[in-house]
């Protein structure tokens, strides 16, 4: 196996008695977009700042391109950062901002100018070259920050909440722009974000962090569909989770779910034993809603308690006889007027789901 671009080995960071990052080990490949996803205070920004060199690990080592970064100061690292606040120099023009990193590199003035022009073209800001940061919009500022960080052709670009300061429309647009720029430049991106949707669409791989610990690493699909813990399942999208107990193993695993008042069949996975307590979890979009009784193993009967209509889809909250609430996400595939809806308030409905969709979580 070739050496990964970034190798983080057992890195911990403490501030006084507070441990911000606990024994994190990660490997990030060249050309990847890798996301560190987690809520505020989960240690993702601290980890990023350690990569940039603004914080030194209390324990563990960080290798970039095979070089131990312990003794390398921030200004010598082949790493650039795009700050959440963008941190543009207010007294310099857009052009000067983008060219600032090149000032510290041995190259001719002509090359420097050409490189700045090239970067401004990349982010489509050529007409704004002589403006000051306060004379351009938030989205443009974000692109200046990106161009500035990319100008020195870093091996690794660190992006701290790159889209957080943008409004929703601009965010979607910028997200695709970021991806295309990453593809064109081939620079490895590490993105810190608290927005799971952003992480899912943007990245090749995600590390979900909680309280300084990496809970799960994987492709977005894998982390979403096969979360290894209740925390990860909850953090990425929404989920119906109930306490359950394994009653039988075999081709399918049977679990008894007291909250649903019945047993549920799940696809067989290893490492479980009869009598073990687990969490039975089910994504709302994996459940089908019916207005007539149906036959089958995984069927629940209940009444619609709440209904939220979003246009392209609807969220139902179905109350079971046991009192438990199940969220169901249904796409409004057919056009229907109000009285033709799939189900309405207080309607009696039946819910069905595949055994393969059922998650059994031990953590």
């Amino acid at each position: 196996m070739t050496e990964p671009l970034v190798r983080i080995e057992g890195v911990s960071k403490s501030f006084g008695s507070f441990q911000a990052v606990k024994n994190v080990s990660l490997q990030i490949e060249k050309g990847e977009i890798f996301s560190l996803l987690g809520g505020s205070g989960c240690g993702k920004t601290t980890l990023l700042r350690m990569l940039a060199g603004f914080e030194t690990p209390t324990q563990g080592r960080i290798f970039i391109d095979g070089v131990d970064m312990a003794a390398v100061p921030p200004w010598e690292r082949p790493v650039h950062m795009m700050f959440q606040s963008y941190a543009l120099f207010p007294h310099m023009t857009v052009e000067k901002n983008v060219g600032y990193g090149l000032k510290h590199e041995a190259m001719s003035d002509a090359d420097r100018k050409a490189r700045v022009r090239e970067m401004l073209e990349l982010v489509q800001l050529t007409p704004f070259a002589t403006r000051k940061p306060h004379q351009i919009s938030g989205g443009q500022r974000q692109r200046v920050a990106l161009a500035r960080a990319l100008a020195r052709q870093p091996k690794l670009l660190l992006l701290d909440e790159p889209l957080a300061a943008l409004d929703k429309k601009l965010r979607e647009h910028t997200q695709f722009e970021l991806m295309s720029i990453q593809e064109r430049t081939g620079v490895t991106f590490i993105v810190v974000t608290h927005d799971q949707e952003e992480a899912m669409t943007l990245s090749h791989r995600i590390a979900v962090m909680d309280q300084g610990v990496v809970r799960q690493v994987g492709r977005p699909g894998a982390v979403y569909e096969f979360p290894n813990s209740k925390f990860v399942a909850n953090f990425l999208g929404s989920i119906n989770a109930f306490e359950a107990r394994v009653t039988a193993l075999g081709d399918q695993i049977s679990v008894d779910v007291p909250a649903l008042g019945q047993s549920v069949q799940a696809r067989a996975i290893g490492g479980l034993s009869v009598g073990q307590n687990v969490t039975m979890a089910l994504r709302p979009e994996k459940i089908t809603i019916h207005r007539a009784p149906i036959e089958g193993a995984n069927v629940l009967a209940g009444g619609v308690k709440d209904l939220a209509y979003f246009g392209k889809d609807s969220l139902y909250r179905v109350a079971l006889p046991s009192g438990a609430l199940v969220s169901v996400h249904a796409v409004n595939a057919a056009r229907a007027s109000d009285d033709e809806r799939l189900a309405d308030w207080d309607d009696k409905v039946w819910l069905s789901f595949d055994a393969a969709s059922v998650l059994l979580l031990t953590d």
């Binding site: 200004w75 010598e76 120099f89 207010p90 007294h91 990193g101 510290h104 500035r148 960080a149 020195r152």
Partner: protein
Amino acid sequence: MIARWFHRRGWSDLVIGLPYVWLLIFFLLPFLIVVGMSFATRTSTAPPFGFGGENPLVNLAGYARLFSDTLYIRAFVTSLTNAAGAMVLCLLIGYPMALGLTRVDRGWRNILLMLVILPFWTSFLLRVYAWMGLMGSNSWFNKVLTGAWNWLVPQAWDVANVPLMHSNFAVVLVMVYTYLPFMILPLYANLERLDPTLDEAAMDLGARPFAVFRDVTLPQSIPGIIAGGMLVFIPAAGELVIPTLVGDSSAPMIGRVISDEFSSARDWPMAAAVAVALLILMVGPMMIYSRFEARAQARERSE
């Protein structure tokens, strides 16, 4: 009717107007009197100046003497060089202190800020006298300096004591000591507002700590440098007490000249003319600067 006016906008007009009235009565009016006096003629009556009668209504003799008598020109030059020296030294000493204040944690910062302001709690005059005691030729301080000097240089250059007192050096030294907080405080206020992530961004882009300071911190602190510089330069240029107590009486500063003209020479018109000239010398550059600033800002906004 008055009540209605008062409630609608009168109260805010009054609040805003009061300081202007104050400035008008206690600043502009006396200044106009001084300007008027500078055109008068010296008489032996009381008050010791007069207009008209056998004297010309507008007498420019005072202003003419400003240029003809080298005493005034020398006094202006001494004042400006001493004040400029004090300003530059205050900047060189105060800038690192202000920058240091922004880099220590909260608790220490308050203590250190306190220490910067602390000297103000004792009488200004007392502090100048303390310096006189230190610099005098029989002080332990002077003896240590003399000893060090005599030990370092060849015997031919030996001195009985280091002549500190009654020199421009002493004036600048005491002015630096006195006005240092006026440099530190506006600089600190300016530096404290700067975004520390900008330093990190520069460092991240390959700038070593000195380059970070030169490219990011320093350019952004220019308003603080100008504010602090003016707060030191302006009072230092007109300083009376310090040069009188520790300065070289054969090369007086302009404050001393004005004071002497008023009191011992009883030439009020001349004193007024010197005062007006000093004011023009101070306010002129400031007005040019602020006009330049305003135009630069307007240009930036219109772009």
